[in-house]
């Protein structure tokens, strides 16, 4: 540290570092039996950083055209040294990130951390969750294999079913009427430029809001602590919580490395626009519950195409999720119970449909 001291002093004279880092030093994390849930946000952030790093590495060799995409990923996984590892970590980390983002969202939901004054933190968080899914969907197509080709066909067709704006939206997403090389190039642009730009801005806002409001305590505990302040227990964010989080990140990195090495991500077969969809085709697990719903929904419900109704229902569900903090205010205590119940039902539905999707039929 002593060699760094003059550097620190030099910076401090110009930027008054102590004032800048004061909020971080003052920040505390409440300690109670649910403290572990506070790790999930940071974990999602860590996996996002892993995605940015491995994504930049993949960009060195990947080529976003219909003729070269599959071959370039093949080249990365077979010829480039440790290419298989980088690609595999990118895929695994993407899946884990979707999982931790969902877990983070549900933990915030059930701990009621979205309540006033944290409504904007919730809004930016849910938007980040949607962006994570958009990252997953756009990235899935990039290896240009059969599974990805049909997943994209179905996914963009779903967007095309939206009333009024569906058709233009479909053409905009596909770069034409059909899924072609133009779609691949567009998705590549979304995946590596548009989405990261938006995500970075939203992420900074989200983190600033978290910093600004401090960490929320579950309502019941908050009341208990307010009644009896001597019960209140907290730890310093820096270094106590930060070091614990760092340890969790280190473990996550080990888990990622092991998963990537033991179960390297498959590449499949090259996409062919003039081949039938293969039997057993299915999307990534996090879209499975929607996929199964669309499979089970009848073709017509009261003269409306079943899938249009299903898609509208999922769209409405997304809007409801965004509106959670505002729904609760209007309905008060009973509403709070109902909302928790609804959340539990949603989890049960997602879990059942996902498991059902993977059952052999």
């Amino acid at each position: 540290m002593s060699t760094l001291a003059p550097v620190r002093r030099w910076l401090d004279e110009r930027l008054s570092l102590d004032d800048l880092t004061a909020p971080l030093r003052k920040k505390t994390v409440p300690v109670h039996r649910l403290t572990y849930w506070y790790f999930l946000g940071g974990m999602t952030l860590f996996l996002f950083v892993v995605q940015v790093c491995t994504g930049m590495l993949l960009l060195l060799y990947y080529r976003p055209t219909a003729n070269e995409a599959f071959e370039s990923v093949q080249y990365i996984t077979t010829k480039v040294q440790f290419g298989w590892l980088v690609r595999s970590i990118h895929s695994w980390s993407a899946n884990l990130m979707v999982f931790t983002a969902f877990a983070h969202m549900f933990s915030v939901f059930f701990l009621k951390a979205y309540r006033k004054p944290r409504e904007l933190t919730w809004l930016t968080g849910v938007l980040l969750l949607f962006l994570t899914l958009a990252f997953g969907f756009s990235g899935y197509l990039l290896p240009w294999n059969t599974l990805a080709f049909f997943a994209t066909k179905v996914g963009t067709e779903v967007a095309g079913q939206v009333p009024l704006i569906g058709k233009p939206l479909l053409v905009f997403l596909r770069g034409g009427e059909d899924v072609t090389g133009a779609t691949l190039t567009r998705f590549f642009g979304f995946h590596v430029a548009v989405l990261p730009g938006i995500a970075t801005m939203l992420l900074l806002t989200h983190l600033l809001l978290v910093q600004f409001f401090g960490i929320s305590v579950p309502p019941k505990l908050e009341d208990e602590w307010a009644e009896n302040p001597s019960k209140r227990r907290e730890m310093k964010f820096f270094p106590n919580f930060a070091l614990r989080e760092l340890m969790a990140w280190y473990l996550a990195l080990a888990a990622l490395g092991s998963l990537a090495a033991l179960w390297p991500w498959e590449l499949g077969t090259k996409a062919d626009a003039f081949a039938s969809a293969p039997a057993g085709i299915r999307p990534e697990w996090y879209f499975m519950f929607m996929f199964e719903t669309l499979k089970l929904i009848p073709s017509k419900i009261l003269f409306i195409d079943g899938e249009v109704l299903g898609i509208l229902a999922f769209g409405f569900g997304g809007l409801l999720l965004l509106a959670v903090p505002f729904i609760e205010i209007r309905t008060r205590r009973l509403g709070s119970w109902l909302l928790t119940g609804a959340g539990a039902l949603v989890i049960a539905y997602i879990a059942t449909m996902t498991i059902y999707g993977y059952l052999p039929k």
């Binding site: 009427e177 003039f274 081949a275 969809a277 079943g306």
Partner: protein
């Protein structure tokens, strides 16, 4: 002669009071012009961008008729996918030795369907949609039948064409 609580101010017009050299009406007009100018310039930036997002239409060179295969290429009770313009088509030689040609794009969510020789049905693997050999949606989520094409044998070529509207 009217006075305001600002002090001795000369009203220029009935509805127009000058306060410290500020003319509210004039200010409103100027704000309006400025606002309209900004909106117009934003529009002129955004319009080309929006048009740029829409890809130029691709000419469908396939036309309405295509050679889908050759006589003898398919065994009875088997099928193949052929190109019909930019879209896939499904050519089936049925167990009764008839040729059928249909659009291979599922009417549900656009996956490419396949012929199931064991069931003599057309099946979409994506969402388990089922069609009969006349293209009718008989089970699963597809909301509409598949488009059926005409098949003609010309020499040893199987020529598929879009049905003419009656």
């Amino acid at each position: 002669m009217r006075t305001t609580d600002i002090g001795d101010v000369q009203p220029l017009h009935d509805s127009l009071v000058q306060i410290d050299g500020v003319n509210p009406k004039r200010r409103r007009v100027l704000k309006g012009i400025l606002g309209a100018g900004i909106v117009a310039s934003l529009g002129s930036f955004l319009y080309p961008v929006l048009r740029y997002l829409v890809p130029p239409p691709v000419a469908d060179l396939g036309g309405d008729t295509v050679v889908a295969g050759r006589v003898g290429e398919l065994q009875p009770n088997s099928s193949k996918i052929f190109r019909f313009g930019s879209r896939p088509g499904l050519l089936i030689r049925t167990a009764n030795d008839e040729y059928r040609a249909l659009s291979a794009t599922c009417t549900h969510l656009g996956c490419t369907v396949q012929y199931k020789p064991d069931q003599h049905r057309i099946w979409c693997a994506c969402h388990n949609g089922m069609f009969d050999l006349a293209g009718r949606n008989i089970s699963g989520p597809p909301p509409r039948p598949l488009e059926v094409f005409d098949v003609h044998v010309q020499g040893d070529e199987l020529v598929v064409s879009r049905k003419r509207e009656a």
